[in-house]
């Protein structure tokens, strides 16, 4: 466990704004009596490793990183807990979009076609939608070709660029469908990546959850309780907090929950995405 008296959080540097965000939180927590520091990682796998090895107390995890941490912890007989998340991490969906004039009317019509997806480790733009299509009876790379747009692998799709490239491939005719997060579809229309009316939604996944603050069973209880209480008391009406919330994309923090990770967990089981990672890390953390 980290020896400093400060509560140390890990986060992944998927964008320079991450520094602004966590510097702001550090100042906010410090002013309220919680010594807080953070460590940035270039990828979630390294963050999970550092967490299990006790180098950080709490991790701001992607849904995939949460499942990585949980599975490694389980393998070690330990317990992981999601203590807090953003209101915007609750009940997301992903959509498969096609060109408006496309003859594809149902998921079954994707048989023999090409589906563009985001980064290979993106829950929302690859793993969950491909699992959803598999549930619909279409096995990836057997029943349809998967065109992957890897952008910043290791950042679990936090960077939107992979989804944007997938949509561009759809518009260029290189793919017959593209998988994106529900909110990114209208966002791509607003920013001009998708000409208005050029695409339509073919299918939508069931709801799933996104990031959470993860702790393991050796986390310092009192500091974690204070950290969580401070998060839950932050208000969008506070002018000091609001710019940080706007950057991090939330209106309020909510208590963590884990039922929203079932689809991603099923996808990992189906595709074996993190098996090697868990097999490799767990023995090193005993």
């Amino acid at each position: 466990m980290a020896t400093s008296s400060a509560l140390v959080m890990g986060a992944v540097a998927y964008d320079p704004k991450v520094v602004t965000i966590w510097d702001g939180f550090q100042k906010y927590f410090g002013a309220r009596g919680l010594a807080f520091d953070y460590v940035l990682f270039s990828n979630y796998e390294k963050q999970v490793e550092a967490h299990v090895l006790g180098q950080i107390h709490v991790a701001w995890n992607s849904p995939l990183a949460w499942l990585e941490a949980e599975r490694v912890a389980n393998r070690l007989g330990r317990r992981a807990e999601a203590i807090c998340m953003r209101d915007t991490d609750i009940d997301l969906t992903s959509v498969a979009v096609v060109r408006s004039e496309s003859m594809i009317r149902s998921t079954g019509d994707l048989k023999g076609k090409t589906v563009a997806v985001g980064a290979s480790d993106s829950p929302q733009a690859k793993l969950i939608p491909l699992n959803f299509l598999a549930e619909c009876g279409l096995t990836p790379e057997r029943d349809f070709r998967v065109l992957v747009f890897d952008k910043l692998v290791g950042k679990h799709g936090d960077h939107i660029g992979g989804e944007r490239d997938a949509v561009r491939a759809l518009l260029r005719g290189e793919a017959d469908a593209a998988c994106v997060l529900d909110r990114n579809h209208p966002a791509f229309v607003r920013e001009g990546t998708i000409p208005s009316g050029a695409t339509r939604i073919l299918a939508q996944t069931p709801v799933f959850d996104h990031c959470n603050f993860t702790i393991l069973d050796d986390a310092p209880g009192q500091q974690i309780a204070q950290f969580r209480d401070l998060l839950l008391s932050m208000s969008y009406a506070d002018a000091e907090v609001r710019p940080l919330f706007d950057l991090e994309g939330l209106k309020r923090w909510v208590p963590g929950r884990t039922q929203g990770y079932a689809q991603l967990s099923a996808a990992l089981n189906r595709f074996g995405t993190i098996d090697a990672f868990v097999d490799n890390l767990a023995p090193r953390c005993k």
Binding site: R200, Y236, A239
Partner: protein, 402 residues
């Protein structure tokens, strides 16, 4: 049952979100509205939008007595965002309290009377106090300045043929050279303060901007007249530059305004009308006349703003007097007015090299300096200096005129 927002076939992201936003705003935080529509993507888009906007959402299936619809509950984020906002004064400067005595640096570039979100970044404006910068006359003078703008291309009879003796042409070129460097100082000084002035004092900012634009035009026409018959301009002296440098270096707005507009440009007014009167050609007369008209407004603003300042803080008057003394002390070992400018003024006022004409020309320039002195004393008295102070301060004014 009544549906609050029926989008019909309008897509949510094709403008439908505006109707939902409006209804939620009317309902207020914590209140719910019902939304229905037939766009196939409505449910998906509405779900994503509500999540991002902090609203909660519930879908109700079709029942015998009601259509399928969504229930959206206002999460209050918009109200939260504006809860600590401040109104940045009032738009109409004529209303009491519209222009505040101390403008918040957090108001930044926001227009006066705009509602400014709390937590907006702080701008490093130095001039934030009304007393330092404001004049009730600024709006009127700005409107007057805008209406009086002239086009150098058409306002000056550039093509009128004339032919001067070489010496007289040289004298005009020397005067133009001198005017250009003085007007350059008069452009730089207000420009420096525009960048330091809080935009809350909009009318003053606009007036200073148009003043700088006036000077840009003056520089243009003086340059063009100077080069009308010559390939290069005349001489620039270190004494003249030293005098102007004290203006450019002055860091306090009110003092700079006093030295430049009230004393310097005030003195220049007399000079420009003098040049207009004795100009040997129609182009010189026109550039001097048009510049003099503009300078009149600059002087008027300087006096209006300082009068208001001194009415609010009479103890500031001795500081103005000190500034004149300081500038005099700094310049006492410099040559003052460029001797060649003086000679050039005598020559154009004489109109020829005949000794009796030169005597007359010299007398006219002496008369000009007396007029300049009287003008300065008059303006100083208007600012509340007594007779003796006005006489003394005027006598200390730079020999370089500006």
């Amino acid at each position: 049952m009544q549906i609050d927002v029926d989008l019909g076939s309008l897509g949510f992201s094709d403008g439908g979100h505006l109707l939902v936003k409006r209804a939620l705003r009317t309902a207020g935080p914590g209140e719910s509205i019902t939304v229905a529509g037939t766009s196939p993507e409505l449910e998906i888009d509405l779900r994503a939008w509500c999540r991002e906007s902090g609203h909660t959402l519930r879908f109700e299936p079709k029942q015998p007595d009601r259509p399928a619809h969504a229930v959206v509950t206002n999460g209050g984020a918009e109200t939260d965002r504006w809860s600590g906002a401040q109104r940045a004064g009032e738009a109409d400067a004529g209303q009491p309290g519209a222009v505040v005595s101390h403008a918040s640096r957090h108001w930044g570039l926001a227009a006066r009377s705009a509602t400014v979100e709390a937590g907006s970044p702080e701008f490093r404006f130095n001039l934030v106090d009304k007393i330092e910068v404001w004049s009730d006359d600024a709006a009127r003078l700005y409107a007057q300045a805008v209406a009086a703008q002239w086009d150098p291309k058409t306002a000056i009879p550039w093509d009128t043929p004339f032919d001067l003796d070489d010496d007289v042409e040289d004298a005009v070129v020397q005067i133009m050279t001198y005017l250009i460097e003085n007007e350059t100082a008069a452009l730089i000084v207000p420009s420096r303060f525009i960048a330091q002035l809080h935009p809350h004092f909009r009318e003053v900012m606009q007036l200073l901007a148009v003043q700088a634009a006036d000077e840009a035009r003056h520089i243009e026409v003086f340059t063009r007249r100077g080069l009308l018959k010559r390939k290069q301009l005349g001489r620039s002296t270190s004494g003249g530059q030293a005098s102007l440098k004290t203006l450019v270096d002055e860091s306090e707005f009110a003092i700079a305004s006093f030295l430049l507009s009230v004393l310097g440009e005030g003195t220049f007014l007399s000079l420009l009308w003098f040049i207009e009167r004795y100009a040997p050609d129609p182009v010189t007369a026109a550039v001097a006349r048009l510049a003099a008209q503009d300078e009149g407004r600059h002087v008027a603003f300087g006096i209006a703003h300082l009068t208001q300042h001194l009415n609010n803080d009479p103890s500031y008057r001795p500081r103005l007097a000190d500034a004149v003394q300081r500038r005099h002390d700094a310049l006492q070992h410099t040559a003052g007015l460029n001797a060649e400018v003086f000679d050039a003024l005598v020559l154009i006022a004489a109109g020829s090299w005949q000794p009796q004409d030169l005597r007359k020309g010299h007398q006219r320039v002496m008369e000009l300096t007396r007029e300049m002195d009287e003008g300065r004393q008059k303006r100083l008295r208007r600012l509340g200096f007594d007779e003796a102070e006005a006489v003394e301060l005027s006598s200390l004014h730079t020999r370089n005129f500006m």
